[in-house]
Symmetry: C2
DNA sequence: ACCGACGTTGTAGCGTCACTTCATGGACGT
DNA sequence: ACGTCCATGAAGTGACGCTACAACGTCGGT
């Protein structure tokens, strides 16, 4: 009952296949398949069953994968127990974030961590659909993700996923500087009927917010363009090609754009840090996470919550 | 960070040395030493330090060993999760008990377990000093141990040791059938001054009880002989070579001996099942343990506690 | 204070296990 | 019906861990 094999089983479940798991684990599909076979032989029950040209975990496999999470957590605690006897935590932590979050959080995070010394942070930007954020935790230690406010919690929390809230960011309406509404202090949903909207791609975070905000009574918003990168959106808004919903702290730097708070509706997005339960136990990771929480508190106005560490 | 290496570290701590741990794990001392070296290299800190001609765990090693218990428990849960999908639990469980406890409990346990089918129970009798009972859990799955009532709890419970109470057994005074006191319903401590006592060897359970019971005010009991086997004790008592303290349920079968309850003092011993936390998670073990608790409830008069399973 | 003995730590040799490469068998989509 | 993708199996290779043997240090006895 090897921890590596259990880790593999866990990855096959979260990634949804042998091939994808192999890619994440830097192995060949054959090796993954053999580990699963060995594990199944040891357990005495079938852990996977073929469905179509892929496979799926059986009930037994699912139960074992759940237990594997606890094993990984216990091993992580063991590593942390050793690391706490070292002078200060060292090592490298991989952090990923969606674009606008990366722009806001990663630079100050890096400077703060550099001040600590000894810790290397490897950053990457990952732009994925909302459902795909949790799976990123297999490749990256800390995933900075966002979701529309009021939406369902991240799936798998807290048994398979640790969620650390970072900040809440209001969504404002971005209009060109020469727009009739540009001088207003705030706007209401009724003011925005007949506008052309620039939205994010289907399935991406805050895509659902627009439908709630911009729709007149019974009518769907007129979506003219779908752009994911907010700086591109700003350029298009400034050029008068439509209006959009943009997060307050990470957008609106362009001179040709005005951000107008919404009155009447509460529109916002939540920015969370996502971690696998076992990596959340690593001492270095928790150190970096502490800094990330502090950075978010500074950047997002009021601190979200006094979350020290991974919320242990 | 291999589970086997962590298991080895745990064993070195509980057995108090590399050689003893190697014997328990069916390895050579060299292999154990190498595992420790590899673990220490991975942890980055010294896990052991030499003390005299042996060695001792450092603070870091102790912390890691504690964490290793949790890892082993998590792995045990994983195995149990798989086993619960099998039809009925199968496998072999090693049970050991001290003599009188073995005599009382093991035969009915074996018949009950045989009725279940599929489970093999390997019995052994282990007569060790009281302090050595916990270490037996490295070689045996379930250790039936006893201690004087009111004595300190088993060391390491519950973090390193699971304790399941089985029964309480009063200690009576055993006198020859032709003794002046033999006709009495009960005796008091004062009646027993000037008697010659037969005790167990120093350091063995219930050795301390005699000192409290048999001592007159300020005087030590006169211990003529030290015999561990209760049937031998009975034979000597019957032959008039002294009196003794014997457990009520497991002794007194010999016709030449009378057991007299003690009035005024509360003398008894507690019989417990001792398990390692990780083996306590095994499904087969818990099945056998359930039966053992039931057997003890029958044998010891009133049930001690409604302990279902390992007290999870 | 010396000597014997126990127990731990290092080194060489061997076996075993896990991974990669390559080839096969199904299942879906065109 | 064919091509493509995905998972699985078989043989070869590499690395890792264990056993056997030797050396060192430390403690108890004389």
């Amino acid at each position: 009952m090897d921890v590596r094999a259990l880790e593999t089983l866990r990855t096959v479940r979260s990634q949804g296949g042998v091939g994808a798991a192999a890619a994440v684990l830097h192995l060949t599909p054959s090796a993954v398949s053999q580990q699963l076979a060995a594990l199944s032989r040891e357990a005495g029950v079938a852990l996977t069953e073929r469905v179509g040209r892929g496979l799926r975990l059986t009930a037994a496999g699912d139960a074992l994968a759940d237990a594997a999470v606890d094993v990984a957590v216990a091993v992580g605690r063991a590593r942390a127990a050793c690391a706490s006897f070292l002078g200060r935590p060292e090592g490298t932590v991989r952090v990923s974030a969606f674009q606008s979050g990366a722009q806001l959080l990663l630079p100050p995070l890096l400077t703060r961590v550099r001040a600590l010394g000894g810790i290397t942070v490897e950053c990457s930007d990952e732009d994925v659909a909302q459902d795909d954020f949790p799976a990123l935790t297999d490749r990256v230690d800390v995933v900075v993700a966002h979701r529309p406010e009021g939406s369902a919690e991240w799936p798998g929390s807290p048994s398979r996923l640790r969620v650390v809230p970072l900040l809440r960011e209001p969504l404002d309406v971005a209009v060109p500087a020469d727009h009739p509404l540009a001088g207003r202090e705030r706007v209401r949903a009724g003011d925005l009927v007949d506008e052309q909207w620039i939205a994010v791609r289907e399935g991406f975070p805050v895509a659902t917010v627009l439908a709630a905000v911009a729709a007149g009574p019974g009518t769907a918003p007129r979506i003219a363009h779908r752009i994911n990168d907010f700086s591109v959106v700003e350029a298009m808004v400034a050029a008068g090609h439509g209006v959009s919903l943009l997060p307050r702290y990470t957008a609106g730097r362009s001179p040709g754009v005005r951000l107008l708070p919404l009155a009447g509706v509460r529109a916002g997005r939540r920015v969370d840090a996502l971690l696998r339960p076992d990596t959340a136990e690593r001492l270095v990771v928790r150190r970096v996470l502490d800094e990330l929480v502090a950075v978010a508190a500074e950047a997002g106005g009021a601190p979200v919550r006094a979350a020290s560490g991974a919320g242990r």
